[in-house]
Point group: C2
Chain length 368, copies 2
């Protein structure tokens, strides 16, 4: 099967995303083209490491690199300052230099953590993303947003640091647990809603081919998501404007993750709920047809994703408080990304408190 | 007395440095011109805070800002990931937003720490430097290098994040302990050696006016140092080349700080020794006249700064090991900035191990 290439043209920070099978075992060869130093570090987690650390390590050694292997615990808890510090210490022990580089081998947590370490170690060293989950391949590995969580909120600490290369090896998705794969589909749906009505229709009609992880179809869909993400990031690298559309469903989604304790909901599950609620708000605020809000909820449900959450009054208060800690808050006002139609969203939308309360209460009960 | 202004033209990241008396009490007014949000945080340390936190805080409140006060322990130990984490938590508690800003009120430690926190909180928020030591006014507050130490080495973690404004209030120097003031003069001497032979001569002939902290003379010297730093930073913001000249004396100086335990030597004291040793190496490698190496050692000694260090064999080994962890190491080779003459240095110089050993042994005993 062919390897697809998506360009991310950002001047001196330009890079390519490669999508296809067998890319992991060619990691060393791809890195060799980047003209970096020989010393490097692979950061991965206990789960991904078991399967893929050896082929990645061997591939680098074959091309003359001198990699260290840094393993962090699996799960969202690894996205912490404690892990950052542990990584720094191991990079120092392996004597990484400014021309050395890091490889982030894993899902979104590993990519965000490793990227933040790369952004700040020696004031920034190069890094390569090798995302091994669908969610990381279509979203977090592209665009340079890296960071970790604080007790007070998700991704409150971070940087913009573009990778030098992204390798999406479809083979790594073959062993991905069903729940994680479905979680990644929530971000795929998002691209349809925010940017590409045609993609959304393909998801409506051929969802079964995605769930079956059909190689050619999956490659095309991942490549399309990466193209959309690249186009948005090229337009607005540091989220001054357009890039905010990528947060559709995330203001509520992040708050759900925060109040549930990171890890209860997978990120994709939380933003599936967030997207459904954002669609619901959109029918009131930005004129999204009710039928389209229902379609959004249905596509997500079709992928086995949750589209509702039941909260008691104290939880609802905690959810609203968590939303106010969101990075997009301005003058204390929560900003939402809302849809005008499927394929077109607007950002910076304010929602009256009463409507937000009502939507959290009723949710989709009157939509589905 | 007049306020001097030095421009740092860096496109969208341009800012001004103001040098003069009474600037601290005008902090709020200067910040008001920057067009930032109202919520902000002053980061200072226990020592500086006692004297200057209240005027800074009040000045911000008078202009309608809503500042939080974050106080870290005084001393180099505060430049740690532990302090970074403590700051993050307080910024989150005060609900800082992307348009909020931070004020670094203190010496180099506070500026580097607060700058790193500002560079990474919410992926970067604006910050203002109010340096209260000579060293911070002429060096660390300008140029956007921010960061903290690791157990493995100084400044191993950091970012490039330019301030929006630098206010050097000469009044804050009036209460600066003598030892700290002299430590700052080591960086002043450095600017003469690396860039401005005329400045060096003024230091040779009018050192007493500096030591007396004579207002007009001090303002002119600080402004000249800031001009030189600005010129170098504008040429090479992220230390790809020229900016390395600012590290004259620092490769050895940082290693001295590392093996002595941070805090035993003040930074300026360590780099005074480093500069003297670098001058000594320069006579062998880059043709610095022996007489000029002696002049460099003498100016530093005239400011009461150390220009030698006595090390046993195990300490010498630790010093060399610490130098190899320097950020400027490339392919395992230590890179030095060396002088060709006073006012002109070259970077990326390698020094034969035997010469380095000999210089560490003999030091200046045959120079002075």
């Amino acid at each position: 099967m062919d390897v697809r290439t998506v360009n991310v043209p950002l001047g001196s920070r330009s890079y390519v995303i490669k999508i296809g099978e067998g890319l992991l075992r060619e990691l060393g060869r791809h890195c060799a083209r980047l003209g970096l130093g020989s010393r490097c570090a692979i950061i991965t987690d206990t789960n991904v490491g078991k399967r893929f650390a050896k082929p990645a390590f061997d591939s680098l050694v074959r091309e003359g690199f001198d990699p260290a292997l840094v393993i962090v615990p699996a799960g969202e808890n690894a996205k912490s300052l404690k892990s950052v510090q542990a990584c720094y210490n191991q990079l120092a022990a392996h004597r990484l230099e400014r021309r050395s580089f890091m490889v982030a081998l894993g899902g979104g947590v590993v990519g965000d953590l490793a990227g933040f370490v790369a952004a700040t170690y020696l004031r920034g060293i190069p890094f390569v993303q090798v995302p091994t989950t669908l969610l990381a391949q279509v979203d977090s590995s592209v665009g340079g947003k890296v960071g970790v969580n604080l007790p007070a909120g998700k991704n409150l600490v971070g940087a913009f640091h573009q990778p030098r290369l992204v390798l999406c090896d479809l083979d790594t998705l073959k062993t991905l647990p069903e729940r994680e794969f479905r979680s990644g589909l929530a971000e795929v749906v998002k691209y349809g809603v925010i940017y590409d009505g045609g993609l959304f229709k393909r998801l409506e009609h051929h969802g079964d081919r995605l769930l079956a992880r059909e190689g050619g179809f999956l490659t095309a869909v991942i490549a399309r998501c990466c193209e959309i993400k690249a186009a948005v990031v090229v337009e607005d690298e540091t989220e001054g404007g357009l890039r905010q559309i990528l947060n559709f469903g995330h203001t509520i989604g992040h708050a759900i993750e925060a109040i549930s304790g990171y890890g209860k909901y997978l990120h994709g599950e939380a933003i599936a709920i967030g997207q459904t609620l954002a669609a619901c708000l959109s029918t009131h605020v930005t004129g999204l047809p009710r039928a389209d809000a229902i379609r959004i909820g249905n596509v997500l449900a079709g992928f086995g994703l949750p589209n509702r959450i039941r909260l008691g009054a104290p939880q609802k208060r905690r959810l609203l408080a968590a939303m106010r800690l969101d990075k997009k808050v301005s003058n204390g006002q929560i900003q939402f990304v809302l849809a005008e139609r499927i394929g077109k969203v607007v950002w910076g939308q304010r929602v009256p408190e009463a409507l937000l309360q009502r939507t959290l209460n009723s949710q989709l009960s009157n939509l589905d």
